[in-house]
């Protein structure tokens, strides 16, 4: 299991060995602790639970502290589970750092996107809107027709339309690790990563490699 929890720091760029510019997103990842291992026999599924970001003990409830105390771990803000089949590589109480990955690795990154509020069809689904000219008024960003007439006489379920956009869990697949700074616990990922700066992200080994 290769996985880490981290916080998005922001985007910048670095130079590769040929001098070309590589746009990267910095993630402050780890150190993470293995707080629990869920096995198929006892829990019905196989997963590794990781904890990230040390905080003051009084920020957690007694139950949360007790959960971490079993392996003498510090109080941690975030706990997340990574479903995996390979449980042998880690054991409870382990400390994981960015050294888990090497430059060139492919990873999947899961984050919560920035909330956009109630958005129209043009922004949310890329609808084209209406024409600007030829006698039109108030049609520029209109979604157009939702469906047909008396048959079926209703809007089909699942039709795209305006609504709440963003603040959703999104996975960006097959991103490349471009930089690792073990001293500062930094991962540099080529390209963009879902979520705002300071948002929690899960970094996983790429599933489709």
């Amino acid at each position: 299991m290769k996985g880490l929890l981290g916080k998005k720091v922001g985007m910048t760029q670095i130079f590769d060995e040929t001098g070309a510019v590589v746009p990267i997103t910095l993630i402050e990842a780890g150190p993470c602790y293995v707080t629990q291992i869920r096995k198929t026999e006892t829990d019905g599924y196989a997963a590794v639970q990781l904890g990230f970001e040390e905080i003051k003990p009084r920020r957690l409830t007694g139950g949360q502290l007790g959960h971490l105390k079993r392996f003498d771990l510090p109080p941690l803000r975030y706990l997340r589970e990574f479903q995996t089949e390979t449980l042998d590589e880690v054991s409870e109480g382990d400390r994981l750092t960015v050294e888990l990955f090497v430059v060139g690795d492919h990873v999947d990154i899961i984050g919560t996107t920035k909330g956009k509020g109630f958005a129209g069809g043009v922004k949310r689904h890329g609808f084209r809107g209406g024409p600007k000219t030829h006698g039109q008024s108030d049609r520029l960003r209109a979604p157009g027709s939702h469906g047909s007439t008396t048959t079926p006489g209703r809007v089909l379920k699942g039709s795209r339309g305006p609504g709440h956009m963003g603040f959703a869990r999104v996975t960006s697949q097959n991103l490349v690790v471009a930089l690792i700074d073990a001293e500062r616990n930094l991962l540099g990922i080529r390209g963009s990563v879902p979520g705002p700066r300071g948002g929690l992200v899960m970094v996983k080994e790429a599933r489709k490699q």
Partner: protein, 116 residues
């Protein structure tokens, strides 16, 4: 800017002196042609400097043959910029010398300023 982003900034090449708008410079750039690498020189006037960590850059304007203006932007921290030589400083009163684009010949000259 976050400390972490600052931390991975590449240091500026020591072969690049402090640059100012109006300076006449010659920029030595490494260029790859097939499997051969050579250094190309680009000589002109700096018309703007932009900050921004690893993205810090400056634009050099020169007049090529037939009076055609050529502008090229270089990344200050790029390893492809081998060195920069300042040949002449100039007294300028603004940070962006875009007015030079509308001028040609003698009117495009800048008054020299010598820096210690």
């Amino acid at each position: 800017m976050s400390d972490h982003i600052k931390a991975i900034e590449v240091p500026v090449n020591p072969q690049i002196p402090e640059l100012h708008p109006g300076d006449t410079v010659s920029v030595h750039v490494r260029i790859k042609e097939g499997d051969r690498e050579r250094v190309q020189e680009f000589r002109g006037t700096i018309i703007r400097m932009r900050k921004g960590g690893n993205n810090a850059n400056f634009t050099v304007r020169r007049i090529a043959s037939h009076g055609i203006g050529v502008e090229r932007t270089f990344l200050l921290r790029s390893p492809r910029v081998e060195k920069v030589v300042v040949q002449r400083g100039a007294h300028v009163r603004r940070a962006q010398l875009y007015f030079l684009r509308d001028r040609t010949g003698r009117r495009a000259r800048l008054k020299e300023k010598r820096r210690s």
